[in-house]
Amino acid sequence: MTDQNEEGIQGMLNQLVSLIIIVLIFAAILTFLALRVYKDDSFEKNHIAKDMALALEAIQTGQGNTILSYTKYTDSYSFAFKQGIVQNYKTQEKKLPLDFMAVSSTFSIDQNIKFTEKEMNHTGTDIHPNLIKTGNNLYAETPDKEYNLNLHYYEDINTSTQPKTYTFSTDSKDEQFKEYVKTLTNQPGYQFSYKEHTDTDFVITESKENIIYAPQTKEKRKLASIIANKLIEKGENAAILPSGNERFTIKIKKELASQLTSILQESFKQYYETQ
């Protein structure tokens, strides 16, 4: 009888200890979850990751060059990009296993556009990361020197963006027109040089109509299209015709001569950015 009682008491004690341990473990886990959820910024991370994913999809939709400065949520969030996935995490969490702490969102990739896997840091109000699509390249850029993405972009993706020296000449007898053409030289960014003879890359001539005679290569036709578009943007008509040689001949209305510098500067800028 005594043995049975002792065994019964022992059994009850075991059950009680088990129950206490289970309650303690459950309470500990719930406390962890409650504290984590309370302090946790999962909602914000999720929102930012989705927002960035949508921005990446939208930027692929745009024609030509698009630069999106991502200026939102500058309170210490960072991004990591993989193919079709954007991860968002707090910058101080970076040392922890990223996949565990980060919130991910997926985005569609247009296979016709190269997505450059770069990490984009987003660590302060003065740092505005950019999502950039130039031609068939899509990449993330940040001024953060740690990643030096600007440098990588120009080195890795496109080394042909260095402008060469272009020579200009005019066969116009009008002194004012000649002066306007000469102002193309020594402009910042691109190296233009003026010559007195017509054996140059561009011959600028005055005309009643705006006509661009372009050499028949794809790249040069593209440059001609950009120049023509710039003229059209200014409310002018412009035609593109094939050139019989390797040089451009730009026939331009005399009254537009004063805007020639800005038209060509903008055109070259756009041309190089879409290379």
Binding site: N14, S108, D110, Q111, N112, S225
Partner: protein
């Protein structure tokens, strides 16, 4: 020996209890994540982006002149309405259907993205769990040298 067997049984029982407990806590966390995702549904925006891309982007269905490289927004290149091209153009497997019809509503061409899943889910869109987003737009259809008016309908099935 009896005691050892009993102790072993207790240990096994404890291991099972802990596994069940962890599973329950994980399930609670999982429900939290699902609730969070549901609170941030962005399907309308995604559909809008898909529409815009297909209508206006050279990597969508918009016609692009090979001679000048110029893209004609709103002009659909019928050659591009091809399953392989569409799959290449969007990597997320959101089931979608693209239908080109002429002015009288006669189907000229129809293609799918993730066709198998579309055919399974489309009949279920009467239920709250699934939603069919669709938009029909007036377009010009470029077929060879010919250009004719028509309509492009884009349909996308999303699960809520």
């Amino acid at each position: 020996m009896k005691l050892n067997k009993k102790a072993l049984g207790d240990v096994v029982l404890w291991i099972i209890r802990i596994i069940v407990l962890v599973a329950v806590v994980a399930a609670i966390n999982f429900l939290r994540i699902i609730a969070l995702n549901n609170a941030l549904q962005t399907y309308d925006t995604e559909f809008y982006i898909l529409n815009t891309k297909m209508m206006y982007s050279p990597t969508g269905l918009a016609y692009e002149s090979t001679a000048t490289g110029r893209t004609y927004p709103g002009m659909i290149d019928i050659e591009k309405l091809d399953e392989a091209y569409i799959n290449n153009s969007m990597t997320r497997n959101i089931p979608s259907r693209f239908t080109l019809t002429d002015e009288n509503g006669v189907v000229i061409k129809q293609e799918y993205h993730n066709k198998e899943r579309y055919n399974i889910l489309e009949p279920l869109t009467f239920a709250k769990q699934y939603n069919l987003l669709n938009k029909t737009q007036y377009v010009l259809i470029k077929q060879g040298e010919q250009t004719k008016p028509g309509f492009l309908t884009i349909e996308m099935v999303v699960s809520r």
